[in-house]
Amino acid sequence: MQPVVQFDNVTKSYGKHVAVENLNLSIEAGKFVTLLGPSGCGKSTSLRMLGGFETPNSGRILLGGKDVTRVPPNKRNVNIVFQDYALFPHMSIAKNIAFGLELKGFDNQHIHRRVSELLELVQLQDYAKRLPSELSGGQRQRVALMRALAPDPEVLLLDEPLSALDAKLRQQMQIELKSIQEKTGKTFMFVTHDQEEALTMSDTIVVMNKGRIEQMGDPNTLYGRPGSVFVANFIGETNLLRSTVVGTEGDQAALNWNGVTIKAAQGGLTPKAGDHLYVVLRPEAIHCSAAEPESGNRIKGKIRQRVFKGNHTSLSVEVGDGTMLNALVHPADVSQLNGEEIWVGWKPETTTVIPDRHAHN
């Protein structure tokens, strides 16, 4: 199937500063795609280029197979939900939503029907006549979303639309957004720097760093098999153990970490003895115990800090030469860890490895 959106080798720079570099990205119709990355990595720039507000220095942008690289925003069938909503302050909610429909030349009856339909979708029927200033943040958010959806765009672009909301409301809106996306079957292209938000909603996450795509995949893959140290650190919490390959056994690699032999799933790599790798060990994969575990990887350590987090306790465990490992422990297990000295254990298949790009061996 033909992708709705294609970035074909797109580069955008401001003066000498390259904001987006050789971006190649295809987005399938009906998917919830998230551009995720730290501040300044070029997410908004990419989105604004697709919206028509920035012109790439080179490369092409295709929308539904057509080249729209130089088409002005009002002639593109995409709509943006802005971070601060950008609702027209002098127009009622209904008028705001009708704006795009009027400009498309629909008749009044159709506009009226569509507006009430959309207001109903977010349960704002009773607010149709109010001004944006008379709504709460969450309600404004919903109106902005409906205004952008009203003209039936091929792709809906959302630039950190939830960042102005408080944590509770944000979670609620995440779920609502996802369900609206599923109900309407629209392609959503969502921008955020919040990895949790990305994991919650996306079908596909595109991790960006310094104007480039670092890795792209579904949330499970990105979390379970990060392809680089950057992605491992950016998505979820991670312990990274820099180790040297000793040998391979089936689909597992045997590694030497500070004199301790550990095993890890190879994660698609073909490591040779002597290679340096990072073992990605997620905090929840770690099992802490007072007695030495009988199987799997295990390292002796000392508890340095316990932080109670309600449904779990977060332990900082010092292992080997002073490396700190972060481990999540279930409340029921914490009581058994009275002493300082404990064992940190995990199953080899719960980890993956990533190459150490800076190694010269």
Binding site: A86, H90, K104, R147
Partner: protein, 264 residues
């Protein structure tokens, strides 16, 4: 006793405030009071009161004609100044235009040039281009004078406008003209209404420019000036009182309108 000295600064401030108010209002009050005096001379004591002077003013064809003329000039120059001023303000905030500081400085110049100088230079200008004195010349002069005030008010409002409102309009299918008329202009609305009313008052009030650029048809200030030269009479007081009340009402209404719009 201690209290009295402790309160001295406050007491004196209050006193100054009241003195200032008195100074401000006394001449106006006197002028108004005299307009109700049933005698031919503007002087105390006021023996009997009457509304005759108002009746006379309202039937004074000269006065009514001057009023109409002033209003017409005000309307025309306000329209021109608002259009021009808004356009200049848009230019100043637009991206990718060079010399915005210079445009701003030039646009504001007429507000700081002394009225006399500006009047003389305008007079010289119109005679250079062979434009006759009269209505068109007056409108031109008033427009030039009013533009800076519109520019400043529109600019203040434009600068507080969220940058992506226009982006949102463009995104939803508006070309730049539609976006201007449906989003930018309504947003500017309150500022423009305030600016327009200010322009009207400036124009009605203007004497120097009108005097230099005008023909034989008198505007309101010119008529009153001519009458005063013929000697004071309560009729002039009545005229002035009417003008004062109407302009004050318009000014207050403008303030109310802009305030209401601003709270949105």
């Amino acid at each position: 006793m201690r209290n009295m000295f402790a309160d001295a600064p406050r007491t004196s401030l209050t006193a100054i405030y009241w003195a200032f108010l008195l100074y401000l209002l006394l001449p106006l009050t006197l002028m108004m009071a005299m307009s109700f005096k049933d005698a031919n001379f503007v002087a105390f004591p006021i023996g009997d009161w009457t509304l005759d002077w108002y009746a006379k003013v309202m039937q004074d064809k000269q006065f009514l004609e001057a009023c109409l003329y002033s209003v017409m000039i005000a309307a025309a120059s306000t329209l021109a100044a608002t259009t021009l001023g808004t356009w200049i303000a848009m230019l100043i905030v637009a991206e990718g235009i060079k010399g915005q500081v210079i445009i701003f400085a030039l646009a504001c110049l007429p507000a700081v040039v002394p009225g006399m100088i500006s009047a003389i230079s305008l007079r010289i200008f119109i005679s250079t281009i062979d434009m006759p004195t009269g209505t068109a010349a007056i409108i031109l002069g008033h427009t030039v004078h009013a533009v800076p005030f519109v520019v400043v008010m529109a600019l203040t409002r434009l600068r507080s406008m969220p940058g992506n409102l226009v982006d949102a309009a463009r995104d939803l299918g508006a070309d730049s003209i539609v976006a201007f008329f449906r989003v930018t202009l309504p947003y500017l609305g309150p500022a423009l209404v305030g600016g327009m009313i200010f322009c009207v008052l400036l124009s009605i009030d203007d004497f120097v420019r009108t005097f230099f650029l005008g023909g034989y048809r008198p505007t309101l200030p010119m008529l009153i000036f001519a009458k005063v030269q013929g000697g004071m009479s309560p009729e002039i007081n009545a005229m002035a009182t009417l003008v004062l009340v109407v302009t004050a009402a318009v000014g207050l209404y403008a303030e109310y309108m802009t305030r209401r719009a601003r709270t949105r």
